[in-house]
């Protein structure tokens, strides 16, 4: 469990201080635009806009590069396969048997790849600029039932604990001679089984104590909630919502 556990990078900027709701609104509208448009120019526009907003919000460029790198295998796959699969009309640029390459095909490939890239950046903006807890809280404030938010928050909280359990168990088993990196596929998969079963049982025990803890704090008894730390929409947050709405509404006439 060594994967990067979050794309969030802390910084002190207007973008990071913004209420989570305007950022989620930005993602929602941005993804909608990416789904609806048929023009590559609009996708480039959305991509450029998101980069501009992130950089203006003092988001470290390093994290943008990291996102590009994470997307790279998928983008390459689309760029290579889409033109070969659906060449489209026009003269061949290159041909071997039934496989042909045309300008139209290449442009379609680029279009699909840009769509994924634009969608990925728009959808990742809230995650990159907001701590996960604040984001879940924002979702709750935007109408997500409290218990659902609680499930998301607890799952993210317990990811670390489950990860530690996994490390402990697999180290203990490796110390007894189990190997995950030797042999063929079947052998590797078989090696994972004892770890997995032990991990599941340990997780079940963990959920027992979590259930006790929740019950002891009276979770689920009273539906009306009070909050220790509240967030509310400031004028600047409403301004952000207005600007975002106007910006994306302005793109509407150019979608097709």
């Amino acid at each position: 469990m060594t994967a990067p556990l979050s794309f969030y990078s802390p910084a002190d900027s207007w973008l990071h201080r913004l209420d989570p709701r305007p950022k989620l609104w930005f993602s929602l509208l941005g993804v909608l635009i990416c789904v609806l448009t048929t023009r590559t120019v609009v996708l480039i526009g959305v991509l450029a806009l998101t980069h501009a907003v992130l950089l203006a919000g003092r988001q470290p460029p390093r994290s943008l590069v990291r996102l590009w790198r994470a997307m790279l295998p998928i983008l390459v796959m689309i760029l290579v396969l889409q033109p070969l699969l659906a060449p489209g009309e026009g003269p061949d640029l290159w041909r071997v048997g039934p496989v042909r390459l045309t300008e139209a095909g290449l442009l379609t490939g680029l279009h699909y790849a840009l769509r994924v890239a634009a969608g990925a950046f728009v959808a990742s903006l809230p995650v990159m600029t907001t701590p996960v807890n604040t984001l879940v809280y924002g979702l709750h404030k935007a109408g997500l039932p409290y218990s659902w938010g609680m499930a998301i928050g607890l799952a993210l909280r317990y990811l670390g604990t489950v990860g530690e359990l996994y490390t402990t168990i697999s180290e203990a088993q490796q110390a007894r001679g189990l190997s995950f990196s030797r042999g063929g596929i079947v052998k590797r998969v078989r090696a994972a089984a004892p770890t997995l079963i032990a991990l599941i049982i340990a997780s079940l025990r963990l959920s027992d104590s979590l259930a006790l803890g929740l019950a002891a704090r009276g979770y689920g008894l009273k539906r009306q909630r009070t909050y220790w730390r509240n967030i509310s929409m400031r004028p600047v947050d409403w301004l952000a919502v207005a600007v975002i709405t106007l910006a994306f509404a302005g793109m509407l006439p150019f979608l097709r």
């Binding site: 396969l81 699969l85 994924v116 990742s124 609680m150 998969v189 079963i197």
Partner: protein
């Protein structure tokens, strides 16, 4: 038992199982040198569906894999994973609840596997922002291997139920094995 996230027991089980799916989705076991890997997430989804019923399977499967997408930079694919793996958990759990036998377990992983492969294919081919037809087609073999690997969830469930008899008391709908 009704599935109610306001119940501390249900919330605790669902949340920890979601964390397990999320964590295991991020663990990649390489099978081929280039871009070929399987993850253990689907095994955890099937386990959750069989042990705790279709609704827990839906939440743990959908939310777990959706969050995995979000934290690894694939936020745009999160809605697709949410729907596909959620359905996978829901249907597998529903089948086993109706047929709490070994045959039901096999049927459950089969149906779940089909949903996994078909769901990603249809989603990516139809919704433009998920990559388009070429990507959808190229992922079919990878997802088929992933589904076959995930079907081990039935075996893992049987093994855990044997090694940890309490599962049948705490689990809402556990088939006798």
């Amino acid at each position: 038992m009704k599935f109610d996230l306001d119940n501390p027991r249900t919330l605790a089980t669902t949340a920890v199982m979601t964390a397990l799916v999320l964590g295991l989705t991020l663990v990649r076991i390489a099978v081929t040198p280039i871009n070929g890997y399987v993850h253990l997430g689907d095994i955890a989804i099937f386990f959750t569906s069989f042990a705790f019923g279709p609704w827990a399977g839906l939440v743990a499967g959908g939310l777990g894999t959706g969050l995995a997408d979000v934290v690894s930079g694939y936020a745009i694919f999160a809605p697709l994973s949410l729907v596909v793996h959620g359905l996978q958990g829901l249907v597998a759990g529903w089948i086993v609840r109706r047929r709490p036998t070994s045959a039901g377990l096999v049927l459950g992983v089969l149906a779940g596997g089909v949903i996994l492969v078909a769901g990603y294919f249809i989603g990516e081919a139809v919704v433009p922002v998920f990559g388009g037809p070429a990507l959808a087609l190229s992922e079919v073999p990878f997802n088929a291997v992933q589904a076959a690997f995930g079907s081990l969830g039935a075996v893992v469930y049987a093994a855990v139920a044997r090694a940890y008899p309490r599962l049948r008391q705490t689990g809402t709908q556990s088939p006798p094995l």
